[in-house]
Symmetry: C2
Subunit: 228 residues, 2 copies
């Protein structure tokens, strides 16, 4: 939680992974965006920006992971989103940031000046569409999370979370602490821990370390998550 702002990046332009041949529309969009971005490096727990700061930039995660939080005056916290490589943060800001974003682990992010993004969109309307699509996806994720927070029990919440963290494959490395998970699921660390144990006891998952989850029975996990 170092209160420092993002330190000056090593000033290198991002080299797009795809450079030649027929670019897909998505790749072309990404490349156009990346021309106006600079890379910023963050150390674990370093803050990228704080709720209330003037919102000059938006960001894309290149490596590592971030958490985006909102706070109540008395310190209660909610983690809106965990951002992993490819994810954007602060797309939804107006004049100021509406959340605080910190690095879960050492991370690199691409920083885009929002004014430049606006200009780019005016020149290339298809970028606007791609941005709208991202906002829609974020909004739908938020709606799923509201259903989770409003109506699911602890077991269902954790099952949903684990499935969201590993779209495919049966192995998840969780870059966040139990505390972060608790603040994302509207629970306490103790309940999160007990619920991990419960899933383990049912033979649905296995924990090699506390942050290394093996999904043994994805079908069972899905049944729990969707209350089917």
């Amino acid at each position: 939680m170092t209160p420092l702002h993002s330190h000056q990046p090593t000033a290198n332009r991002f080299a797009p992974a795809v450079v030649a041949g027929a670019l897909s529309a998505a790749a072309a969009d990404a490349a156009a965006f990346d021309c106006i971005g600079t890379v910023v490096s963050l150390r674990r727990d370093q803050m990228l920006f704080f709720e209330g700061d003037p919102a000059q930039y938006c960001f894309k995660v290149l490596s590592g992971a971030l958490r985006s939080c909102r706070l109540l005056p008395d310190g209660r916290r909610h983690v809106n989103q965990f951002a992993r490589p490819g994810d954007f943060v602060a797309l939804d800001s107006d004049d100021v940031y509406r959340s605080t974003v910190e690095a879960l682990s050492d991370a690199r992010v691409m920083r885009y000046p929002r004014r430049a993004v606006e200009q780019l969109i005016q020149q290339q309307p298809r970028l606007g569409k791609s941005l709208r699509r991202r906002l829609c996806a974020d909004l739908q994720a938020a709606q799923a999370q509201m259903l989770l927070l409003g109506r699911k029990n602890a077991l269902e919440r954790l099952a949903s979370f684990l499935l969201a963290m590993c779209e495919r494959g049966d192995h998840v490395a969780l870059p966040m602490t139990r505390n972060d998970i608790a603040d994302h699921l509207g629970l306490t660390i103790e309940t999160v821990s007990r619920t991990f144990s419960q899933l383990k006891g049912r033979g649905v998952i296995e924990l090699t370390t506390s942050s290394d989850v093996l999904i043994k029975r994805r079908d069972a996990l899905e049944d729990i998550a969707e209350a089917a």
Copy 2:
């Protein structure tokens, strides 16, 4: 909850309120949108669309009010949003609607074919910006709601809700039932009712009828809502 789809509108074009003189940017945008829309009338509890339906349209409320919900297989429900005149619904759909929208009271809505909206945006990029702004506002509202659902107690939830329902003025007519409020705040009807009584007991609000709230002490309500 009539399972009928929106019946055929009375086929009249919406006449923009402002027709002459220098239109503001926002008014001009609205007028452009309204040229591609038709008016649809809904009776109380009539469904506008159902979760999973192909999403051909998006909508703007003209009069009355709507609720937008998500359901779990076993019937648990979360109300994402209450939409009142001027609010849009289904802006965030992709191929299918991700929520079910019904009328809280008799209502009229403007229906816009999404393909036509896309075309209009290509012609007038400023419309795209206005749409993005709306999506951002929705996303920020969703984030505030996640904090509410994850970390606030019943009293704080209801206080936040009442403030959201009456941006200004001290009088709120609630067009929704206690059940709808409960499903929006992640509580039960009984808890919502008890919490209304508690706010009444503290002299913060007064209830002339169960749906007619008078805010006696807005400052107190704000303190409760923000846990200050």
